[in-house]
């Protein structure tokens, strides 16, 4: 199957996540908790994108997400687009927004942070600095950049 065919392979109902940096596709699956679901998932990695060099794409059949869930992806794929497909048609197209606070994903970069030693859900508030997102740990008050989070 050619790359072209894969990209256009039709989805009847579901969600297409496009423009994910190629290297972050597996992290995206993890963040969206897609590892153990039953639905059919099609993944493309290292596809050629006009704007971003190599990109990744994830298509999930019969699955629709809450915005809060999707917005967690903004940390690793700030330029990702979300296409909601119903009856083979794109019924909604949206961009991700950076959530003010994220909980339960990623690790604090501070090795002495209590969240790295006790069973505690991580919690960060986000701040955008230029094109970088920095995360302030709710507990140890140290800043982690989103690259160091995973």
């Amino acid at each position: 199957m050619s790359q072209k065919e894969l990209k256009v392979s039709a989805l009847e109902n579901g969600t297409v996540l496009d423009h994910i940096p190629a290297e972050n596709v597996y992290k995206a699956l993890e963040i969206l908790d897609l590892k153990d679901i039953e639905s059919q998932i099609t993944i493309g990695i290292n596809l050629v994108s006009k704007q971003h060099g190599k990109k990744g794409i994830i298509k999930i059949a019969d699955k629709f997400f809450e915005d809060d869930e999707l917005n967690k992806l903004s940390l690793i794929a700030p330029d990702a687009t979300v296409n909601v497909i119903r009856d083979f048609k794109v019924v909604e197209k949206k961009k991700l927004e950076i959530p003010k606070e994220i909980r339960g994903i990623g690790r604090c970069m501070n090795p002495k942070c209590v969240t790295n030693h006790q069973p505690i859900e991580t919690r960060f508030s986000t701040a955008k600095k230029g094109d970088k997102i920095s995360l302030l740990c709710h507990f140890c008050e140290k800043t982690t950049d989103s690259k160091g989070l995973f």
């Binding site: 501070n110 942070c113 209590v114 969240t115 030693h117 006790q118 507990f139 140890c140």
Partner: protein, 304 residues
């Protein structure tokens, strides 16, 4: 609603000034036992005799009783109990928890697990807000104001949490800062950006002499070995500054030297006899400030 003190940022300017005002009341009248019948936990998961004695004296002066431990090695934590379970258990017995813990963020977490107020007595290199408040109290006491002062911070400005918290607290007032540190121990970028965002001036230097004669407060710190991961770096900077009485010939009359103690070689003994030394009184002030914090959090000295 329950209020804890975990980070100096938890207190507004108004609350900070209220604590300092209340501390003054306790300094004038240190025996007020209105907490009779209360029990307060003092949980020191890492030893710190100085801070623990100051807190426990404050509790006793207010008439409450203390339970707790001064070292975690014989507690159920050392047998693998989670911090959450320890706090939940202690929470059932007491009206307040004062805790010190080597992990950063541990006190914030405890305050979310507990129903009673939690006072952070130091969480690793992160925060130690009662130290910051006693620093502010000492500055106010010696200068008569917190506004428009020049504060020269000296020594380990990279790892020294007392300087970071003091900087955050003083940002409420029109302070000018001098940061005196060797290259390896300069004030981290995030704190300088914080000052920039508030429009607060600062100067950086590696020379202790350079701005010694134009500051109101000389805030000396010890270079703490335990904060270093690289022993060679520590050896290189451990004795970077040493203040002696001779160097103080031309300082401002109102200038006072503060130090969170214990000191090692950064202030020589002959400075103690000069009118500029204030670090022993500063340590004593910790008692009144801690009495004020405990009273306020237990609702006995509310903001009006």
């Amino acid at each position: 609603m329950k209020k804890s003190l975990i980070s100096i940022r938890d207190f507004t300017k108004e609350e900070i000034l209220h604590i300092l005002e209340t501390a003054k009341e306790f300094e004038q009248n240190p025996v007020q036992d209105f907490l009779t019948g209360k029990v307060i936990a003092s949980l020191f998961f890492e030893p710190s005799t100085r801070t623990r004695l100051s807190f426990e004296t404050a509790v006793n002066r207010l008439g409450a009783r203390v339970i707790g431990f001064s070292d975690a090695s014989n507690t159920s934590q050392s047998k693998g109990e989670t911090l959450k379970d320890t706090i939940k258990m202690v929470n059932n017995y007491v009206d307040m928890i004062i805790m010190r813990h080597p992990l950063e963020g541990s006190s914030r977490y405890a305050s979310e697990v507990a129903d009673v107020p939690v006072v952070n007595a130091g969480d690793g290199a992160n925060q130690h807000p009662s130290q910051t408040l006693l620093d502010l109290y000492s500055i106010l006491q010696t200068q008569g104001t917190l506004d428009g002062l020049t504060i020269n911070m000296v020594g380990d400005l990279k790892y020294g949490r007392t300087t970071h918290s003091l900087l955050q607290a003083m940002s409420h007032f029109k302070t000018k800062f001098v940061f005196t540190a060797p290259d390896e121990l300069k004030m981290p970028k995030e704190y300088k950006e914080f000052l920039d965002s508030k429009g607060i001036e600062y100067i950086e230097t590696a020379s202790l002499e350079e701005h010694l004669n134009n500051c109101d407060i000389l805030y000396m710190t010890r270079v703490q070995q335990e904060r270093f991961t690289d022993p060679i770096e520590y050896e290189r900077v451990k004795d970077c500054y040493s203040l002696d009485a001779e160097m103080l010939a031309n300082v401002k009359d109102n200038m006072k030297i503060l130090h969170p103690l214990p000191r090692v070689n950064e202030i020589s003994q002959d400075v103690d006899e000069t009118p500029y030394a204030y670090y022993f009184k500063q340590a004593e002030n910790g008692l009144y400030v801690r009495m004020a914090i405990i009273s306020y959090l237990l609702g006995h000295r509310p903001l009006r």
